[in-house]
Symmetry: C2
């Protein structure tokens, strides 16, 4: 009798991650996919490319959960040690896998490259492990069964190559079909995204909903000006029961948060904010354009992460240099009198953009993103955002953001999107004040 895969440890190997050169996006991907399958990730461990550390980490991980998913260390370089680590863990020798070697040779032939000794290394596997096909690259994955030392017997260890383009298809095609999911354990999760309320006030309004022993369990996270509620319901009943529990928690959150709760769904808060405003505009056949200075294209980039953004988003101008602001229609006199970072220039950027782009709404951003360029009257973090819409008064706001250049730019874009959200929701006059807004 083998244990179901109810929880998992996620391991990443790579000096480039431990020393901080790269972010471990693979761990996040695994976690999201596992959650959607009802498997709870209970730890992520990231370790350097050192054999002893790898073996030790895999051993400890296999003792914590019946499922361990690892990425990295399967390539052709001398720093790739995952094969050796798994072999040491299971006490196996490494043997050449004929089928894997053929797949590598075929992949190389397709790219017009020769099979070298280095490439062939990737076809070795611990004797009792199996190789997982890699449709997108040369490094096969590995699947091994490991004595866990835990009460459940053996742990399934899956090792996948680090490049996300190879790892993702292998997870779907090689790992998921080998999982033993618990049919009697249902987890339903949902993310609700909120803007325009400070975290402490949000917690207060939610009351009992965020109690730690509740089911559904509601967690809250603040990131870049957006709050996200994580609702998680667990039941041994039907999926519909778990979903109903989540529905109920969401309904209560909507009741106390009103239009501050702008969206529900996977992804980051700002992705959801983009999806929400684009959806509202598409429903009404309205269009949006942007005119960006300090964000340099970030707002457009964020909006176009949403597939199908073109139904409402037409594009815009990146008026980084003042000459481009003038060629758009900002008056030279306004630039001289008030400076490029001013409510007046933001307003003219938005209204000129509305006309020139022929759109229903136009968001404009100008500010001091730093680290240089600040002054006493306009310190780093000073940003003016203006929203022009047909037939409605201009909404121009001044913000003072904290953080580094990236934070300031991201918050500028999010604040613009929040202004658009509240306008689309009809908060024209009694507009909610946004975090970081200054008068």
């Amino acid at each position: 009798m083998t244990h179901v895969h109810d929880r998992a440890v996620i391991v990443s190997t790579g000096d480039e991650v431990t020393v901080g050169q790269l972010l471990d996006t693979n761990g996040q991907y695994f976690a999201q996919r596992l959650m959607s399958l009802g498997v709870l990730p209970i730890e992520h461990a990231t370790v350097p490319d050192e054999l002893a550390v790898l073996v030790d980490t895999l051993k400890r991980s296999c003792a914590r959960a019946p499922l361990v998913i690892m990425s990295g260390g399967l390539g052709p370089t001398d720093g790739d040690l995952t094969r050796q680590a798994v072999a040491a863990l299971t006490g196996d020798t490494l043997v050449l896998d004929g089928a894997a070697r053929e797949e590598i040779a075929a992949m190389l032939a397709k790219r017009g490259r020769p099979m070298t000794e280095r490439q062939e290394r990737q076809a070795y596997r611990p004797r009792r492990a199996e190789c997982l096909s890699n449709a997108m690259g040369t490094a096969p994955g590995l699947h091994a069964r490991v004595e866990s030392g835990g009460g459940w017997g053996t742990t399934d260890l899956f090792c996948l190559p680090g490049p996300p383009g190879e790892l993702r298809p292998m997870f779907a095609g090689g790992v998921v079909p080998r999982l033993r999911l618990d049919p009697s354990r249902v987890i339903a999760t949902r993310l609700c995204h909120i803007v325009g309320v400070p975290e402490a006030e949000c917690v207060q309004r939610l009351g009992d909903l965020t109690r730690r022993d509740a089911n559904p369990l509601v967690g809250i996270t603040a990131s870049g000006g957006i709050l996200t509620l994580r609702i998680r319901a667990e039941t041994s009943g039907a999926r519909s029961d778990a979903e109903a529990m989540v529905d109920q928690a969401e309904a209560r959150a909507r009741e106390v948060l009103g239009d501050n709760l702008f969206g529900v769904g996977a992804g980051t808060g700002w992705e959801n904010l983009c999806r929400s405003v684009l959806g509202l505009m598409a429903e009404r056949s309205e269009t949006l354009g942007v005119v960006e200075s300090c964000t340099g294209g970030m707002l457009g980039e964020m909006l176009t992460t949403v597939p199908g953004a073109s139904e409402a988003f037409v594009g815009g101008m990146i008026t980084y240099a003042n000459a481009l602001k003038e060629s758009l229609g900002v008056r030279g006199e306004t630039l001289v009198r008030h400076g490029a970072v001013s409510a007046e220039v933001a307003g003219e950027m938005a209204t000129a953009g509305l006309e020139r782009l022929g759109v229903d709404h136009c968001l404009a951003i100008t500010g001091v993103a730093g680290p240089d360029g600040g002054s006493d009257s306009k310190p780093v973090g000073t940003v003016h955002v203006a929203l022009a819409s047909r037939g409605v008064a201009l909404d121009a706001r001044k913000f003072l953001f904290t953080g580094d250049r990236e934070d300031i730019r991201r918050r500028s874009a999010v604040s613009g999107l929040a202004m658009l959200h509240f306008r689309l929701r009809g908060h024209g006059s009694g507009r909610p004040r946004l975090i970081w807004e200054v008068s």
Copy 2:
């Protein structure tokens, strides 16, 4: 006698990270800062907000290294358990820290908010721990000395609040002054970034340089079309010795890689590519504009992550809708005959942009980023990039990228920057073929 802080374990707590909702950027920040101080991060562990798991992870981490740096779990909600975990670890009770309470009250007063019982919780600390001031928020940090069980005696455990804007100043002001750095151990590191060579070919050209037992140790990472070499030299001598070792390794890499090695420095590959091309253009007083379709502003956003980008980058157009492509100067006939995703339209976008923006170089991108919108003749991932420069023939290339929408867009932008890099380096005619380029 206390041990020096030569290595560290990094811990993050937060359900939002273990379930994959958020990326652990704090771990990366700690790792980068520690490396720059000569402290080697040997593991990152990310765990959920559960008291038993937290205590267990902290205990294990303290047994692995004389320094443990943790983020998260210090806020006012019931899910914030770091204070309790540290108290359990050291066997201390939680006591109210008067000074910390005053700092919280002052911070709240500044924001016009009242001191609640919930806010006051943040002023509690394990009896023998000390609080670290938080200049940017209400949650103080913690510093505790923990019996490690390792040969070195006590481990210093630092706990910082999760929000990056609070954590970073606290690391600089509260953690760094309390570190005991080893004056006799010098680590010098450097990142070198490479474009236009496949990884296997790069490893081959580098030869012995990437041997695992070498000092300096050279690691290689591929990310989004750019390869990055991590050179790390360790010595007990002077900093200048370590730097000289790194210099030598870099010189050898430059010798075998030529103009494929485009830059040296911290940050991601594409950040360095942006910095490099902007620097070259600024030296020559040349300017750059962009015309973006499928990337929707991403190229402009990437270029403007570089402070001072305005010396060369003037801005551009986001011509997401075809109407905007036409209003820029793309002929309607070209759009109808070849379609928006074509070499012809990319070329007209670039040449029209060159004139309209009044720049020396203009990069244009049009493609199918997916997941929808592909066809047999133009599958998802088909992207045309064109570079127009004054007095030089247009460089237009077709790419077929793999991956998701985000990958395709990022690779499109990187490929455009690579084309600009090689043009600025004088590779006009014998232009290097780029990865993913198709004829």
